[in-house]
Amino acid sequence: MAKYIIKRVAISLVTIWAIITITFILMHSVPGNPFRSESKMPPGVYENLLKKYGLDKPLPEQYTIYLKRLLKGDFGESMKSRVETVNDMINRGFPVSAYLGLQALIIALCFGPALGVIAALNQNKWPDYLSMVIAILGISVPSFIMGTIFIQFLARNISWLPIAGWGTFAHTILPSLALAMMPLAYIARLMRSSMLEILGQDYIKTAKSKGISKSAVVLKHAVRNAILPIVSVLGTLVSNLLVGSFVVEKIFGIPGLGMSFVSSISNRDYTLIMGTTIFYAIILIVMLLLVDIAYVFVDPRIKLTKEGR
């Protein structure tokens, strides 16, 4: 197990380095730069800006300077903000996005599997149709429409909740819901098909024929096995939710990281692009690693010890 983890960590480090390098090259090969705008900016002013951020140096030199800084944990200064460094932005934005993502994840994990199980147990009956209608709505209606609908009905028409903004728990409810709809629906569909497959297995029939009660069959045998595919998507899902969603953060005016992630690209804020990308890559890789390790515990068929192989 320890050996496996060490190997995985080593591979992860190489992956992160590759991501840094590729992002760096791509970012600099895209047209535009952080300081160009619709303005009469004289060439002298423009050169001062390039010099201040070291963009006047050749690219390979910029790359080595960046890597050296990064090793010290310094993501550098944002090229659009003279107030916050990239580290500041991540430190401020990530907790906000993560808190929201977490709430969304809890909602999705509470209701998604339940919806899927109900649907599978009532295949082709009305509870099945009802849950799948909810699931299809969740998958096909984009979160910006969902968010707008929530604002209109839950905040404007019946003023239960604040319209947008950040600060209190009440502010987090609507965005969490909007954020949760998609993973909830995805999990529900996954759970349904996986349950249906398991329910048709021989060992379920055996269990039934042994006279075990229906609820015990479902809970102890079916659900436990059917949940495996969900564990495997959890890594990507969790990392996606944690770093935040551009759309939901924009609609609800949430000071999270998801917004910085997208707007940095249209602003050509080079250091922020690198910072957010690397940060996201690290989270994604760590989550995938955790999921793989979790798998070992959840699925008895996977064993990483020598005897197991």
Partner: protein
């Protein structure tokens, strides 16, 4: 087994919970006070006047700082930090006498040295201020900024605590107005030298305007409160202004409707059209110092031909675009200079020059055929050209309308090409386009803010237009202090520009905003955002 899964899931959750710190509650503002609530749309990149660039910074700065000159309740330029000024006979030497009772928000007196320090600081190449060019009117300003002169060469000097002398490169009658512009606001030398990070935190932030910075929650909100040290504090009725930072226009409009904002600008386009149609009293169409236009790349065939350019412009029905598409109360363009700029006699420059843009659908077709013939091309050759615009619903609709007008009126079939904003700027600079959408927002209220864009090799002259006579007229206007000569030169220059049509102006922008009936005293001048300095709330 299931328990283990539960443990793992909760571990992941706990981990994320740990870093998230679970948010936190925030107290709400004091309701008894008069706090005006509005939306600043975007996080300021800095609240240091020397580093400010656009509207997201300047709207806040306009309320917490004051320059040598300021705007009164009616938007007129009057002495602010200065109590009087004198322009010497050479037309380039200004002497400002500061008021005696002016203080910074920390109680320090505002001195002429503060101004000298601030302006030189903004010009310092190390500061790399984007708006440093606002100081290039000052003698040796540009030279210092590009490393060709020393700091001491810059011709701004504190003669004593209360007297500031400024020498300009050339006569610039709009310089007085510029001293009310946010880049030229002073900073407190003592504070800035002691703490270079002073502008990052409200607790160390010092300003000299009617309001002072109280709270800055990044990407969430900025609150300014009345500055008791301001010399004219008795005229300020609001206790504070709360600017939230909400990027989504539609959500912001929901908040305005829901009573969470007292004032909102900008408004979603559809909302403006709807409010306008129902003649809603909360909608105000403010004037704006900007023009929406199309560049023709004069370096490529057939756009090098003046007849082709004229024909394309003549075939655009601007009124339809304004009434049916833009729908924000914009005005069809009558030239490149927008409305609401006074001339030497105090009349509207635009009205005096009149409409320089001809629309003639029949004549256009004839002119196009002539022009194309001169270039050895045919109507069919026009089909391979495209209109370049940056991705946006509004620009797209206008481009489609113009495509349709050219199809119907000229029988040509141009393509539409949308690219990301940065890509558009890059391609315009490289001359890699045929027709492109552009816009210009003026810096100061004078036709020159538009006119000098199109001099040969100007930094924003993407059409590649070059006309010796035009350049000469602009030079004359820039070097004379005689207002009559200056304005006549600019009038003549605009005529030349509109005869040559390197650009086809489409419309002059407006700045629509919404304010609740109980808000009064908001003033809007053509080149600034609405000002709340003299506003009041009468609930």
């Amino acid at each position: 087994m299931k328990r283990k899964l539960a443990i793992i899931v909760s571990l992941i959750l706990a981990l994320a919970m740990l870093v998230s710190g679970c948010g936190g509650g925030k107290k709400s503002g004091d309701t008894a006070k008069k706090i005006l609530r509005t939306n600043n749309s975007s996080e300021p990149g800095s609240l240091d006047p020397a580093l400010a660039q656009g509207t997201h910074e300047s709207w806040i700065l306009d309320h917490i700082f004051e320059g040598l000159m300021k705007r009164d309740e009616n938007g007129k330029i009057v002495p602010g930090m200065a109590k009087e000024y004198k322009l010497a006979d050479d037309n380039v030497t200004y002497t400002f006498k500061l008021r005696d009772d002016i203080k910074w928000s920390n109680g320090d007196p505002v001195t002429a040295e503060d101004f000298e320090y601030s302006w030189k600081r903004a010009l310092d190449p190390e500061m790399a201020s984007t708006y440093a060019y606002q100081f290039f009117y000052i003698k040796n300003g540009e030279a210092y900024n590009s490393g060709k002169a020393s700091r001491d060469d810059v011709a701004v000097k504190a003669l004593d605590d209360k007297t500031l002398e400024v020498v300009l490169e050339q006569p610039a009658p709009y310089f007085l107005e510029l001293t009310a512009f946010y880049s030229l606001f002073p900073v407190n030398q003592k504070v800035v030298e002691a703490n270079p990070d002073w502008a990052k935190d409200p607790s160390t932030y010092v300003s000299n305007g009617p309001f002072q910075l109280k709270t800055w929650e990044h990407k969430a909100k900025i609150i300014v409160e009345k500055n008791p040290n301001y010399y004219d504090a008795s005229k300020i009725k609001l206790d504070g202004i709360e600017f939230s930072i909400l990027e989504d226009e539609n959500t912001a409009w929901q908040k305005y409707q829901g009573g969470e904002y007292d004032f909102l600008s900008p408004l979603p386009q559809a909302v403006v059209a709807q409010l306008n149609a129902e003649k809603n009293k909360e909608l105000v169409i403010g004037s704006d110092l900007s023009t929406y236009y199309y560049n023709f790349n004069t370096k490529v065939k057939p756009f090098n031909n003046v007849k082709v350019r004229q024909a394309l412009s003549m075939a655009i029905d601007r009124k339809t675009i304004v009434d049916k598409i833009a729908q924000g109360g914009q005005k069809p363009a009558e030239g490149v200079v927008c409305f609401d700029i006074p001339d030497e006699n105090g009349k509207d420059f635009r009205d005096v020059s009149g409409n320089l843009i001809k629309e003639d659908l029949v004549g256009a077709k004839k002119l196009l055929e002539e022009g194309l013939k001169e270039e050895g091309m045919t109507i069919a050759d026009m089909n391979k050209f495209s209109i370049l615009y940056n991705t946006s619903e509004g620009h797209k609709k206008i481009a489609q309308a113009i495509q349709e007008m050219w199809r119907n009126n000229l029988g040509i079939e141009v393509q539409l090409e949308n690219v990301e904003f940065q890509v558009k700027l890059d391609r315009e600079k490289a001359g890699d386009y045929f027709v492109s959408r552009a816009g210009w927002v003026g810096d100061y209220v004078d036709p020159m803010t538009f006119m000098d864009l199109f001099v040969t090799d100007g930094p924003y002259n993407d059409s590649g237009f070059s006309n010796a006579e035009y350049d000469k007229l602009i030079e004359t206007a820039k070097s004379t202090a005689d207002q009559k000569v200056r304005f006549e030169s600019m009038r003549a220059a605009e005529k030349i520009l509109m005869e040559n049509m390197p650009i086809a102006p489409i419309y002059h922008y407006t700045k629509p905003y919404a304010q609740k009936p109980y808000v009064t005293g908001v003033s809007k001048v053509v080149n600034r955002d609405p000002s709340f300095i003299y506003a009041d709330i009468n609930k």
